[in-house]
């Protein structure tokens, strides 16, 4: 009986190719949309999380300026000074490393090629604080840092743009009005959390940047890394107090500098990511629903034809359960094949889009299963229910169904 039922179901699917294809299409689209969107959302979240981790969890940034979001009080906040960095280093407990940073946007030139990039002036401590690794070459020597020598360590993007496949080590790189020798190459980190390319910068000693690019002894930002186990909150409080004192901020006045830690940054970003993922999920749910309605439509449109078919089968001696089993097998087959095709399509689409968008791809078993089960349930319910109703009728009523 089972074999015959399978045969009948297969015949019915083949005979009604259009109806079968449309039913499957509904399921394919529903499943593929949900799975692709959620997979991409997961990839984006994972990518942001990885970037935050690459920033280091114990990083504190001190920048001049009004607190974000407040109107300026008119006066321009004074820049930070090198002595501020020294003071943080020597007077605050729990601090591991302090790296004062100068940065400027500059066009770098090698031979006939030029590339607009950002120059960061900082010491070797910057590499540790910002978690950079060298793949080639060496760090600055003490003499180079102290003497403000013309040497540089370049990011991977700069290497690609200016040197292509040739070895950059030892080559000269012209920045604005001076040339510096490439002594090191950094390991690529990829896209940053704001969509920026983290590898697009040139690192030169702080003093070199101050002298050759800025022409003053100011510092744009001080990066501080906390010791393991030290509370970044406490360190931030202490830095704030110290800086208010050093910058003569009177009581009752707002800070004219910002102290941020990566936790704040990551909180902001993960909040945004959550909203995005929710949005994607909502869009995906709608497409699943639309796919489901498509399935219902196809199935309900064919109810009359199917009811008569049930009547014919019953009249010539089919048992009720034989007819029902056949319809169930048909619905399950269409739903399962449609679901699998949807998953296949989603996998191909997710991998392609992930590569295109530079996101990590991972197969999410949960969402695949959920989308498959949901669509299959709709397919089976709407394929099977009309048959069930028809099979309960007297054969003659089913035959007369208009």
């Amino acid at each position: 009986m089972l074999w015959n039922t399978l045969l009948l179901a297969a015949r019915e699917i083949r005979r009604n190719l259009m109806r079968s294809a449309l039913t499957m299409l509904g399921i394919v689209i529903g499943v593929a949309a949900v799975v692709t969107m959620v997979t991409l959302g997961n990839g984006a979240t994972a990518s942001v999380a990885a970037q935050i981790a690459s920033l280091g969890s114990n990083l504190i940034l001190v920048m001049p300026g009004q607190r974000m979001g407040r109107p300026t009080s008119g006066s321009v906040a004074p820049n930070l000074r090198l002595s501020d960095a020294d003071a943080i280093d020597t007077q605050i407990t729990g601090v591991e490393r302090v790296s004062p940073v100068v940065s400027k946007s500059v066009t770098a030139v090698v031979g006939a090629k030029n590339w607009k990039t950002s120059v960061t002036g900082a010491g070797n401590t910057y590499l540790g604080v910002a978690r950079w690794e060298l793949v080639n070459g060496r760090e600055f020597s003490e003499a180079e840092e102290r003497g403000g020598k013309s040497v540089c360590i370049i990011g991977d993007r700069v290497r690609r743009e200016l040197f292509g496949s040739s070895d950059p080590l030892g080559s000269e790189l012209r920045l604005q009005s001076f040339s510096c020798q490439v002594i090191g190459l950094l390991k690529a980190k990829g896209q940053g959390s704001m969509g920026n390319d983290q590898d697009d910068f040139v690192l030169i000693p702080l003093r070199t940047a101050q002298r050759r690019l800025a022409g003053n002894t100011d510092v744009n930002m001080v990066m501080v890394s906390a010791r393991d186990g030290a509370s970044t909150e406490r360190i931030k409080e202490r830095i704030t107090l110290l800086m208010r004192e050093r910058r003569n901020v009177r009581e009752g006045q707002d800070d004219n500098f910002n102290v941020l830690d990566t936790k704040q940054i990551s909180d902001t970003l993960s909040g945004t990511m959550q909203i995005l993922t929710l949005l994607l999920g909502a869009v995906a749910a709608v497409s699943l629903l639309v796919g489901g309605i498509g399935i219902m439509n196809i199935m309900l449109v064919s109810v009359t034809e199917r009811t008569r078919e049930v009547g014919i089968r019953l009249a010539i001696g089919a048992l009720e359960r034989e007819v029902l089993l056949q319809f169930l097998v048909e619905a399950v087959t269409l739903s399962a094949v449609g679901g699998l095709l949807g998953i296949l399509l989603a996998t191909v689409a997710s991998i392609t889009l992930s590569q295109f968008m530079d996101l990590p791809y991972s197969f999410d078993v949960g969402i695949n299963l959920l989308a498959f089960v949901f669509s299959a349930a709709i397919g089976v319910a709407f394929g099977y229910t009309p048959a069930k109703r028809a099979a309960r009728l007297n054969p003659i009523e089913a035959l007369r169904h208009e």
């Binding site: 009986m1 089968r313 054969p395 003659i396």
Partner: protein, 244 residues
Amino acid sequence: MSADGQPALIELRQVTKTYGQGQAAFQALAGIDLSIERGEFVAVMGPSGSGKSTAMNIIGCLDTLSSGSYRFCGVPVETLTRDQCARLRRSYLGFVFQGFNLLRRTSALENVELPLLYRGESAATRARLAREALADVGLSGWEQHTSAELSGGQQQRVAIARAIVTRPAVLLADEPTGNLDTQRSREIMELIKRLNTERGITVVMVTHEPDMAAMARRIVHFIDGRIAADASASDAAALARARA
């Protein structure tokens, strides 16, 4: 009981059928008695709404009766479950409908094979018997055509092939020629008549065309849910002439 002591093939006793309930209730059959012996060719006639199709559906176990009793070969059909009725249909009954009721987009051969499939016959047996049945109705060579590719007369022949492929005891035909022109009707009638005389298949046929009914050996007249006349065809013809 028939003369030889065997139970009649079909025996209806005080059968009623009511559709709907309360005020909207409609009595299609108001208590009919009818018995049909093996090998008979019975034409059921009557105006629309006289209950002839209802009686036919009850005889075919396609519909249930409201009261009374129906014995098929002595078996009380009203006590059977739906599945038992289905088994009775697949083993003893063949149906031919006015609207043919073939499966759409399905070849003639597969349509004819269908009852055998439900009886669990092997693929080889199915194909052989279905081809034979199609040959019997004169449709050799048309096996692979779907109903859309066949004329009305051919479709009805496929339906007859499907009805007789299981070698049923009774062929039930509900206005089998109702959708056909005179020429096709005559051919279908001759085919049914031949099945009755050559194969001994009992035929019960609903029709409202006297010409067709005249080919039967017995004519049962329904009026308002009752049997108004039940006579051999020659008597009926005489009656009709007398009325005219």
